[in-house]
Amino acid sequence: MKTTSFWKEFTKGIVISNPLFVLVLGLCPALAVSTSVDNALGMSIGVTFVLLGSNIIISAIRKIIPNMVRIPIFIVIIATFVTIVNLVFHAYVPSLYESLGIYLPLIVVNCIILGRAEAFASKNPLLHSIADALGISIGFMLALLIISFLRETLGTGSLSIFGARLFTLPILGEHPMAIFVLPPGAFLLMGLLLALLRRLGVIKSE
């Protein structure tokens, strides 16, 4: 009984309530940093760490958090983990830190994380909260990887991961469609992806 619901909490974040494509949360950081697959990976790792950490702590102390001041407490806990991510990225992956820019500290106000704290971790036991955090993080990472893959290949005509050029598209390599690395392209792609997923039946419309 317990393991099946653990599995259920884990899998629901990947497709059924995917944070980007179904809940449509955290669009601002997601669309801003999805210009390259590298950035998307970095952002997802940061979000995964913060979400896992905050879900664990909040779930563990959920019974002693006074209801009146729960939001400030959530934010302080989340901010602690964001500070750790910020310092670690700055120390070990300075180039990624530079390209993520303001969006790394802004994970503090990412509504996916606060949303999971409020809607899930503050009401559910520790194990389920861990499953929820992992599932949502993987869903976020998958969605971000899809968007960033399309944006990088269309917008620059090539794909490179960690500095290694994987491939260059034949015609687009010479004439990349620059709009896709710009903000309008992010919104266009997001809209088209949502429409496509709805059409394919991956997302169930109410």
Binding site: I171, H175, M177, A178, L182, L188
Partner: protein, 315 residues
């Protein structure tokens, strides 16, 4: 009780002008033949190829998106108009695959994704052009001198570019701009033929005179007031084509006469601001798109007095 058989009872409208969407779009296409012909005359087969590609892609995209949305496909010429207008606003040297992408974007995203003809917020042709200009800035701003059907076109600056060498003889410049013998987009160069096409639409009652007049008049007055050459600014660039064929689009321009004047003045001010102070040499495309976005607001705030009601205070 049976009533007189000679009195026909039918739902309105009872008076019908005989104009339909198909017919209007067909007439617009006819009026566009003149500027298109000028494009082919000045830029050769390559311009014709761009136009054919754009129109074919537009119609095909319309067909595919109608099928995807499970709607009936009606050949109402609107896709032809969009495809042709898009081709007229781009340089004849743009690679054909880019034309295909731009034209498919015009119909697929700007028009059909919003619900098809009558529901689109933005002018589809200009939306496609803006997409292409953002995607392929280099190719979209490479212009050639008119060479007719001779091969080897020479790259040049459009008259609105800073690098354009102004001839000392102003009259010959005006003449070249008026006839269309300058570098530029396929259909924007010949003011004369656009005017003939535009006047044809005005006479037929297809377009309203207020938008073109307010638009061109504002550009003229504002450039004159700012100490620029007003005649040059009217004749150069895509102003004529935009004012007569793009800004007057039924779906994306206001429905009231007052609103149309506001629309024209707004587009004129924006065009001058972009041309003189902006980073781009030409601003017709983006200023019309901007006013398209404001159109619902203009329509909302221009109140129309219902027929029969009197103004406040009127006896």
């Amino acid at each position: 009780m049976t009533g007189d058989k000679r009195i026909l009872i039918s739902p309105g409208p009872h008076l019908w002008s005989g104009l339909s969407v198909s017919k209007i779009m067909y007439l617009v296409t006819l009026a566009l033949i003149l500027p298109s012909g000028a494009g082919v005359y000045f830029f050769g087969y390559r311009a014709l190829l761009v136009m054919v590609t754009s129109v074919a892609t537009a119609v095909l995209t319309e067909y595919v998106s109608k099928k995807l949305r499970k709607r009936a496909f009606v050949m109402d010429w609107s896709a032809v108009v969009t495809g042709l207008l898009l081709a007229l606003t781009i340089s004849p040297t743009v690679p054909l695959w880019m034309v295909v992408i731009g034209s498919a974007f015009s119909i697929g995203i700007v028009k059909e994704a919003f619900g098809g003809l009558g529901h689109n917020i933005f002018n589809p042709a200009l939306g496609g052009r803006a997409f292409m200009a953002t995607c392929f800035p280099a190719e979209m701003t490479t212009w050639v001198l008119p060479a007719g059907f001779v091969a080897d076109a020479v790259t040049c600056a459009t008259p609105l570019n800073e690098s354009f060498a102004f001839p000392a003889d102003k009259l010959s410049l005006y003449k070249a701009l008026f006839m269309g013998n300058v570098g530029g987009s396929i259909g924007e160069t010949s003011t004369l033929l656009i005017l003939i096409g535009g006047l044809l639409l005005l006479v037929l009652g297809i377009i309203n005179w207020r938008i073109p007049l307010a638009y061109i008049g504002t550009v003229a007055l504002l450039t004159f007031a700012l100490g620029q050459d007003a005649i040059f600014h009217i004749l150069a660039g895509g102003l004529m084509l935009g004012a007569f064929f793009m800004a007057t689009d039924y779906v994306t321009s206001p429905i009231t006469n007052k609103g149309r004047i506001i629309f024209g003045v707004g587009a004129g001010v924006l065009t001058v601001v972009i041309r003189l102070f902006g980073g781009m040499p030409e601003g017709v495309c983006f200023s019309i798109l901007f006013m398209n976005a404001l159109t619902p607001l203009i329509d909302r705030y221009i109140k129309v007095r219902p027929y029969g009601l009197k103004k406040a205070g009127e006896k």
